[in-house]
């Protein structure tokens, strides 16, 4: 039970979604609380017996027709005592909560508004109080005031006032600096007027929520205090005192403990549930999720299964070969939506293949698909991914784990988030060496210092002991590259590895990739949206659009002679150092979201050269040089590019 104010859920928006929105549950909760209120008011009429009427002849009986819930040690009717207990529960909750609000809110408003020494002293006292277990605070206050329902509720009121105090103070601190409060002060409004008119209304919503939470906590605390004999005093019937009796007669009639316990649980659950609902509706406003509308009729989520694209020619030095890969993600309206279709590519030993395209074209997912790390719900449904002659899609998890790191590794976009913040960078490289290559602790550490040195970080032995947050972005990316290369993989997937870095650092990292490729001889799949970067580092470039490859060519050929209108558009949108100020042409429209792709050419809606044939599915054609466009090679297109 949470008698402690600090473990009580706080009323301020927490961002955490909790179940409790089901209308049926809310209905039940309201019904339970209504019943409680009615029983409390009409206890005299509803209860079958006087709750204090003793009948020792009938003591400790189980449930019967005369006594539905049995009798206690003095032969008193349990049902009647339970009903009268409702009254005590309502009084207790009302008293303690009222005291907590009346005590906590004004003090909180005052110290929050005045600040300074008052704030400091009161907050230190509050901290001291909340560092003692709540029940002990209540016990001490009861020692001063004496036991009994009303005194115990004053004690709980004082205890729970700390949470209202902090809440009111927090709101004031937030509002005090708001423009409208400051301007009210400037025009000379008095402090009390500012507090009442401008600040108090902002406290009302979280206050209401906090009240419901406090009511639940008070009910539990009252039961606890009465149970240990410091709250409601016998013979008065409260759920806590009934449990006290039940505990004493556990061996004779354990059923005595059930009815009051159920009453407490049902009441507190109902109050908490209403509190949750209030918090969700008040604390957050009404959050409207974007409407996942079904795609328009002429678009299709599903695709024709067959794609007649030309096979990628086999090469002798082939490291990676991806054929007809299709990747699906869970759709917002159920079902699955394709994000990558009919994707084929191959990379030779020591070669750098660039994947370019706008965000959302599926470049990154392609990299993750090769590693088998697509994430929850996302899956590759068609095609093959052959790395060093083995189809990775058929490997079990352990086999894939074996391949990752040893044969293929990945460098991510943001180096500051791709290194684990809890461990030193040296230990993160050493861990890979120990797990993947079975090196000893000391050996692995020495090797990781070597690697850190190799990627061009000065004072490597010292930097190995640094945590990621102590390194600059460029430095962290060097470490990430060192880790990726630690097991000498034949393929390195680099996902926008320079995008998050400063422009000056970008070039250094690109140079590092080139140097390392010369030394380690790995192939690189280089994912980037930056054509200048691709032109700088890649041997061949594949252009992706809306989940498919639209053009693939050697880097010089692609830049000199783009064959797909999308590639031409991308190239003409590239800034050149030579021309000064001409406005950059842009491709009109946006990349269509997965699930809204046109059935034919996916670029058709943005293309200036659209013809009727573009409404059919277009295959990728050609061998060394591939393009997915029915009009590729036509003079009109050539002239435009």
């Amino acid at each position: 039970m949470s008698i402690d104010t600090k473990t009580m859920p706080q009323a301020l928006p927490s961002g955490r979604r909790r179940p409790g929105g089901a209308p049926v549950l809310i209905g039940i909760a309201v019904a339970v609380l209504l019943l409680l209120a009615l029983l409390a008011v009409f206890a005299e009429w509803v209860a079958p017996y006087d709750p204090l009427r003793q009948s020792l002849m009938e003591a400790l009986q189980g449930p019967s027709t005369a006594h539905w819930l049995g009798t206690d040690d003095l032969g008193r009717d349990v049902l009647s005592r339970l009903i009268y207990g409702c009254r005590i529960a309502v009084i207790a909750a009302a008293e303690a909560t009222t005291i907590a609000v009346l005590l906590g809110v004004p003090i909180g408003l005052f110290i929050g508004y005045r600040g300074g020494l008052w704030d400091w002293i009161v907050m230190r006292i509050v901290e001291a109080v909340v560092s003692i277990p709540g029940i002990m605070v209540a016990i001490v206050i009861i020692a001063i005031l004496g036991a009994g329902l009303h005194r115990a509720m004053i004690a709980l009121g004082i205890l729970f006032s700390t949470s209202f105090l902090r809440l009111a103070r927090g709101v004031v601190l937030a509002e005090r600096e708001e423009v409208y409060v400051r301007s009210a002060r400037v025009v000379g409004a008095s402090d009390s007027r500012i507090l009442m008119r401008h600040i108090f209304p902002n406290i009302a919503p979280p206050l209401i929520v906090q009240v419901t939470l406090t009511v639940g906590a008070v009910l539990l605390a009252e039961a606890g205090l009465s149970f240990i004999g410091l709250g409601v005093q016998p013979p008065q019937a409260s759920w806590g005192t009934m449990l006290n009796t039940a505990a004493a007669f556990m061996d004779f009639n354990w059923f005595l403990s059930v009815p009051p316990g159920i009453a407490i649980i049902l009441t507190v659950l109902s109050v908490n549930l209403l509190g949750d609902v209030l918090r969700d509706s008040i604390g957050r406003g009404i959050a409207v999720d974007a409407d996942p509308r079904a795609p328009a009729a002429r678009y299709a989520a599903e695709l024709p299964a067959t794609a007649a694209s030309a096979p990628v020619p086999r090469r002798d030095d082939e490291i990676l070969r991806v054929e007809h890969l299709q990747v699906m993600v869970p759709g917002r309206a159920g079902g699955e939506v394709p994000v990558i279709t009919d994707l084929s590519l191959s990379i030779g030993r020591g070669e750098t293949l660039g994947l370019v395209g706008e965000s959302g074209s599926g470049k990154t997912l392609t990299g993750l698909a090769i590693l088998g790390l697509l994430g929850a719900g996302v899956r590759a449904t068609h095609g093959s991914i052959e790395l060093n002659g083995r189809d990775l899609r058929t490997l079990p998890r352990s086999g894939l784990e074996e391949v990752r790191g040893n044969e293929v590794a990945m460098v991510f976009q943001d180096p500051t988030t791709s290194l684990n913040p809890a461990f030193t960078v040296g230990s993160q490289i050493a861990e890979v060496l120990r797990v993947k290559q079975g090196l000893g602790r000391r050996q692995a550490w020495a090797r990781s210092v070597e690697l850190i040195d190799r990627v061009g970080i000065p004072r490597p032995a010292e930097r190995a002991g640094a945590y990621p947050h102590e390194l600059s972005g460029g430095m962290a990316q060097r470490v990430a590259i060192a880790r990726a290369l630690s097991c000498n993989p034949s393929l390195l997937i680099a996902d926008e590895p320079t995008t998050a870095l400063d422009v000056t650092v970008q070039q250094e990292i690109l140079d590092l990739f080139r140097d390392l490729q010369d030394e380690f001889g790995m192939a690189i799949l280089f994912v980037t949206h930056d054509l200048a970067v691709a032109a700088d580092i890649c041997d061949r470039v594949g252009v992706m659009y809306a989940g498919e490859m639209v053009e693939m060519a050697g880097v010089d050929a692609l830049f000199a002679d783009p064959r797909h209108p999308y590639t031409s558009g991308l190239l003409s949108a590239m800034p050149h150092a030579s021309d000064r100020n001409p406005p950059l042409p842009t491709i009109r429209g946006n990349v269509p979201r997965p699930g809204t792709w046109p059935l034919g050419c996916r670029f058709a809606d943005r293309c200036d050269f659209r013809i009727a044939a573009c409404d059919r599915r277009i295959p990728l054609t050609g061998s060394r040089r591939q393009v997915r466009c029915v009009r590729a090679g036509e003079p009109e297109l050539e002239a435009a590019s």
């Binding site: 402690d4 179940p19 029940i135 009861i142 149970f227 004999g229 059930v258 507190v268 290194l419 993947k436």
Partner: protein, 314 residues
């Protein structure tokens, strides 16, 4: 790490000072005169003055505070008004009992909470996820002493697997100790375990989406290693930050649950002291509890610094 500990200890000084002032000053808030309580109605004026002098109550209040504090720092918490036993002795005698319950229930809460939280985070919407959520909702509404009563009814009264009441010291018989603390610790720890599970779950779900988890897996580290070393270490950061609160709650809960199992711990001592208006005893109890809470806070702060390098003083 030493720097962190020293820093945290220094930060505790104002807290301890205010707690000691509060604790000391509540003597004067009591409605009854402690001297009257001791000498009773039949005492003469002479006796009254003598007791008053013996208790030091005729001295100025700040001197009394300093003397009391000086003795408290040396471990002397005074003498019970009621039966003249040493408060330190009485508290120390009961402390292992309450600590047994608190530590045991904390272990139960953390082990079950972390395991359930991780399982729920790995499989959102699975039965274990739903169960943990449901448990957390109920855990907030079920009085732990009532849960204790139900456990007694089932496992002690009906099945007779465990003793219904009493406590066996660990030093006397570890096995009997375990049997005597297991039911109260479950009663205490279950609701906290649900709360911890919910925190672990939400932290873990967030961590599992981080790049460094994907990067660790891309590096071919085994799944279990990634989950339990890379993810859990980071997911525990926010959990450890609030763990000391949970343990404070368990300490408070132990005072009540002790009553269910007729265990003679600090709770029984505190309830007796309230009934008898035994001021030195209550003061001593509050101070000892604050010391315990502070020790727990310090321990969790150190763990927090260990798993979260950003929190360490540079």
């Amino acid at each position: 790490m030493l720097k962190l500990i020293v820093q945290r200890l220094l930060a505790l000084v104002p807290l301890l000072f205010i707690v000691s002032v509060l604790t000391f000053s509540f003597t004067s808030l009591l409605p009854s005169d402690p001297v009257d309580l001791i000498i009773g109605d039949a005492g003469t004026q002479e006796q009254y003055e003598m007791v008053r002098h013996r208790l030091g109550l005729d001295e100025p209040v700040h001197l009394r505070y300093l003397q009391w504090l000086g003795r408290a720092v040396q471990g002397d918490l005074g003498t019970s008004f009621f039966n003249s036993v040493s408060v330190t002795g009485a508290v120390m005698q009961r402390l292992p009992v309450t600590l047994s319950l608190t530590v045991m229930s904390a272990i139960i809460a953390i082990v079950i909470g972390v395991a359930a939280g991780v399982a729920a985070a790995l499989r959102p919407r699975s039965w274990i996820d739903r169960f943990a959520t449901l448990g957390a909702t109920f855990g907030q509404a079920v009085p732990n002493f009532w849960f204790g009563l139900i456990l007694v009814a089932i496992f002690a009264v009906n099945l007779r697997w465990f003793p219904a009441t009493g406590f066996t010291p660990l030093t006397q018989s570890p096995w009997e100790w375990l049997r005597s603390v297991i039911l109260p610790s479950i009663a205490l720890g279950t609701s906290s375990s649900a709360a911890i599970a919910r925190q672990v779950r939400s932290a873990m779900v967030g961590v599992l989406q981080q790049d460094y988890i994907r990067a660790a897996r891309a590096q071919g580290l085994p799944f279990r290693r990634v989950i339990f070393r890379h993810a859990l270490t980071n997911a525990m950061v926010p959990v450890v930050a609030v763990l000391s609160f949970q343990i404070t709650v368990l300490l408070g809960g132990a005072l009540i649950v002790e009553q269910v199992f007729a265990i003679n711990g600090l709770g029984t001592l505190a309830i007796g002291a309230v009934r008898q208006q035994d001021i030195p005893m209550l003061q001593g109890l509050v101070l000892v509890m604050v010391a315990l809470v502070v020790a727990v806070q310090l321990a969790t702060d150190v763990i927090y610094g260990l798993i979260n390098p950003k929190a360490r003083p540079s």
